[in-house]
Symmetry: C2
Subunit: 279 residues, 2 copies
């Protein structure tokens, strides 16, 4: 792997570039992004050059797509006829079903391997890119056939993921999407809906002072940008809908049993799950 | 103020004892708690002596009730005929309506002033008591008449709250309860219900690995003990029910508009509220 191209040099793409450099990558890293992002990424030593998609395709052994989901699909479409046959295209999109289906149909010239690093920050952009972002974090890979993980290019990618401290997990695209609907998309919507409810119900900003640290925790995700979430909601609506239905049912149960000892059991089950999240 | 008695020497009661000592209190601090808690509190220098309620009443200038809500009411009942007339009784209960109503009726011998420090930790008990727990945190006082804040004993308490770094806020008991139903009780139930939903919907613990830091934030409160929440739910069910209804309505709206651009506005309102929580 001599040349890595990164489309979308933001938090994730920029962090991947910094992480592989820190882990010993000595090849070239090309960035495809807006002019202002390329300037910032060059100044911060995140990439070695800013190039066009066409130029990236001519050189890249690994093409890392770290854009929003619909932009990833547009990029796949744009590079499909241009990539080198021994290039591996991978992505960091937050849903996998639509991307993998589209890539399988469209990207016939070289291998595609879907990915999703379970890492992030509230802030976005190359300015907050971090060489240690993936350290100890799960990194889901979603081959449509597990044999696709055994190609030289895929083995190479996995070895780099391990070098940057990520923990590879293999899931089918649909299983990934059902899982993150619960572990990521539902928490986001629960937090956004909570903050939106408070905004509607609180008379004055002053009342917000009457709160403990728990309010900060539960509303942290509500700061997330809709630009990211719009594509996630559009590409995983069925699983997200099922997760929301189950959550609303559970809240109804809580509502109807506020002073019923049965709620003790719900709290116990919830506390056990919350502890598992922390192991 | 020569002698402070604390009923319930746990996280809050123990932290109050440590905080006033750190702020220069040189009088005696008496603890009323279980024998094991008294031992731990004596060993940690949190209190000077463990006493009975009767002994505490004979000496205390300030009686600080830091138990669960229903236990606070039982203590008020028990000390009503025993406290010194110039004692000030205050409490740290998480709901105020029922406690203040009960104390007003029952505690005729001395002044009562309801309180609620907006501070806490996930862990409980005197072992995690912390002299800086109240530093910079709001501390709600709920007099039924604002004149009650002007008595010498109340002025004295407020000056100690300020010395330990707390930020006093005055609210009517009902206004307090309506506010914390939204800023504290709803976030707790949203977190517990989220964790309970995940526990029911996830097939395997393994799936939990496929998550980002947002899941930890949104499920942190779900670790809370039901022992505390049982009393809160029992003494603020109307306001909590209204808060839950509003939250469920908002989630329904999200559910029905997952791929509708109207959700952008909800995310914007939510993000603004989340930022306000952090100011």
């Amino acid at each position: 792997m001599n040349t890595v191209a990164i489309a979308g040099v933001g938090l994730i793409g920029g962090s991947f570039a910094l992480a592989i450099q820190k882990a010993g990558f000595r090849g070239r890293i090309l960035g495809v992004s807006s002019p202002s992002t390329i300037d910032a990424a060059l100044n911060a030593g995140v990439i070695h050059a800013g190039v066009t998609l066409e130029e990236a395709c001519a050189e890249a052994d690994l093409f890392y797509l770290a854009q929003p989901i619909l932009a990833i699909m547009r990029t796949i479409d744009a590079i499909a006829g241009l990539v080198r046959p021994d290039c591996l295209v991978t992505d960091a999109g937050s849903t996998k079903g639509d991307i993998v289906t589209f890539a399988t149909q469209r990207l016939t010239r070289c291998q595609f391997l879907g990915g999703h690093p379970m890492a992030g920050k509230t802030s976005r952009g190359v300015a907050v890119a971090d060489a240690d972002l993936f350290q100890g974090r799960p990194y889901v890979l979603t081959p449509t056939d597990k044999m696709h993980l055994e190609t030289p290019a895929a083995l190479h990618l996995v070895s780099w993921l391990e070098k940057i401290g990520a923990v590879p997990i293999v899931l089918a695209p649909e299983e990934h999407d059902r899982t993150v609907a619960l572990t990521s998309h539902l928490p986001q919507l629960a937090s956004s809906a909570l903050a939106a409810t408070l905004a509607a119900m609180l008379d004055t900003g002053n009342q917000l002072r009457v709160s403990g640290p728990g309010l900060s925790d539960t509303t942290r995700l509500a700061q997330s940008s809709f630009e990211i979430w719009e594509d996630i909601l559009a590409t995983n609506p069925v699983a997200i809908g099922q997760a929301l239905d189950a959550y609303i049912d559970k809240l109804h149960f809580f509502r109807q049993n506020l002073t019923n000892p049965r709620l003790r059991e719900e709290f116990a089950v919830a506390a056990e799950l919350a502890r598992k999240c922390r192991r």
